[in-house]
């Protein structure tokens, strides 16, 4: 047996073992927080996701959320399954858009949430192409914010891409959306609000920084306080 074949065989064996281990870890975190009857189904969903290279943390979070909210077992399993399907769609979308990191957990999770907020797969692909190799989550959410306030999806993506071309990155995309919404609230039409923001790009106002008094009052969520 050649070394290449041996490595391929070991890799083939390692993936299911890693998936099982991921499922076991998820089960450990879920035990006591979800109805016991749901654990086998949830473990199976988490293992399948791990085997497919999808992030498992959003699934564990969804299961913990359902358990905390007292959701019925069948509904809880269904919601976690739907989350897994959404992650699978997000990963496939990133792969088809030529994304260099189609399995990046944060990116897959961000795209999945943006899809659930109503951003269409076509616009996800457009934004992915405009921001090659960069996180698209905030840009997608900026589009979702704009669409949520009645702006056309195409125009919203155009505005965000214009900001990207002028050097805006990361959470600053959310400021682009906030500026357009603010114009709308001042009485502008949707078209006028988009035109105004486009004219001032990239100088959209950032949110105010927290006051020193607020910073001094802030407390950290201690690991010991976490259940």
């Amino acid at each position: 047996m050649t070394a290449v074949r041996l490595i391929a065989l070991l890799a083939g064996l390692a993936a299911p073992l890693a998936a099982q281990s991921e499922g076991a870890r998820g089960g450990d975190r879920l035990a006591g927080h979800v109805p016991p009857a749901t654990l086998p189904a949830l473990d199976s969903i988490v293992e399948d996701a791990a085997r497919a290279g999808l992030p498992t943390e959003p699934l564990i979070q969804k299961a913990l959320e359902g358990g905390a909210k007292g959701v019925a077992p069948d509904r809880l399993v269904a919601a976690v399954g739907a989350s897994a399907a959404q992650l699978r769609s997000a990963s496939a979308l990133l792969r088809s858009a030529g994304e260099t990191r189609p399995n990046d957990p944060a990116e897959v999770a961000a795209v999945a949430v943006a899809l659930s907020r109503g951003v269409s797969p076509q616009q996800v692909a457009r934004l992915g192409a405009a921001l090659p190799g960069e996180p698209t989550g905030p840009a997608l959410h900026a589009v979702a914010d704009l669409v949520g306030h009645g702006f056309a999806e195409d125009s919203s993506v155009d505005l965000v891409i214009a900001g990207a071309q002028l050097g805006l990155r990361g959470l600053r995309f959310l400021d682009v959306a906030a500026a357009a919404v603010q114009e709308l609230q001042r009485g502008s039409s949707h078209a006028a609000a988009l035109a105004h923001v486009r004219a001032v790009l990239p100088h959209v106002p950032a949110p105010p920084r927290p006051a020193p008094a607020a910073v001094s009052r802030a407390r950290r969520v201690q690991p010991s306080q976490r259940p």
């Binding site: 975190r29 927080h33 979070q61 969804k62 913990l64 959320e65 359902g66 358990g67 905390a68 909210k69 959701v71 509904r75 809880l76 919601a79 739907a82 989350s83 944060a106 999770a109 961000a110 949430v113 659930s116 907020r117 989550g137 905030p138 959410h141 979702a144 914010d145 949520g148 959470l171 959310l174 949110p207 920084r209 927290p210 020193p212 008094a213 607020a214 910073v215 001094s216 009052r217 802030a218 407390r219 950290r220 969520v221 201690q222 306080q225 976490r226 259940p227």
Partner: protein, 204 residues
């Protein structure tokens, strides 16, 4: 109280002979001596005598240093303090300033990938308000809001990792409420809406 003539006193102290006294003084001396004899003749079977005799018979172990220190601390001691009124006024002013001015420390040291989030919710009549979300593994008890002035507005400021978080308020430990001020929401898959939060780094 009977006044004792100083001369008689000196005789009793053995400083003068009795012959040096006048007749009246000698009379007072004899009266005092009779009284002293009477007192000395208290029968040994009196309660006080027996108690004191028992106390004297009981062996007393020498007290340790710690015991003596505790005894000393427990006893009354006269302490005399002298102070200048001007210093007293200054001390009173300093104590009042400490009580009135709320302490504002520098706050927690934040990492590059951390930011500050202020949660505010209006829940008149609520007994408790928690923020529960992805940053608490959806378990209550880690982020508790407070209504210090009892106006129904609950507030809390916490440090969170930079990035995207989902959360809801839990009122009175059982009522899940979407933050109406969040402005950004996502379907939770269970029939409710989670608020969506993006945390920015505090350091630019």
């Amino acid at each position: 109280m009977t006044h004792i003539d100083p001369q008689v006193h000196r005789v009793l102290d053995g400083e003068l002979p009795a012959a040096a006294l006048t007749a009246a003084q000698r009379e007072q001396l004899e009266a005092l001596q009779r009284a002293a004899r009477t007192l000395a003749a208290v029968p040994p079977s009196s309660v006080a005598h027996r108690v004191m005799a028992e106390v004297r018979r009981t062996p007393v172990a020498p007290a340790s240093l710690g015991t003596r220190l505790l005894q000393w601390l427990g006893e009354r001691h006269a302490v005399t303090i002298t102070f200048r009124p001007a210093w007293g006024l200054a001390l009173a002013a300093a104590l009042a300033a400490i009580a009135i001015i709320p302490s504002r420390g520098p706050g927690p040291a934040l990492g590059e990938q951390e930011g500050i989030v202020q949660f505010v919710g209006r829940f008149p009549g609520a007994r408790s308000v928690d923020v529960v979300g992805s940053f608490t593994d959806w378990q209550p008890g880690a982020v508790i809001l407070r209504d210090e002035d009892h106006d129904g507005v609950w507030r809390g400021t916490i440090v969170l990792p930079v990035g995207q978080h989902e959360y809801m308020f839990v009122v009175d430990g059982e009522r899940w409420v979407t933050d109406p001020l969040a402005g950004r929401y996502v379907d939770d898959g269970f029939g409710r809406m989670n608020a969506l939060l993006f945390v920015r780094p505090l350091t630019p």
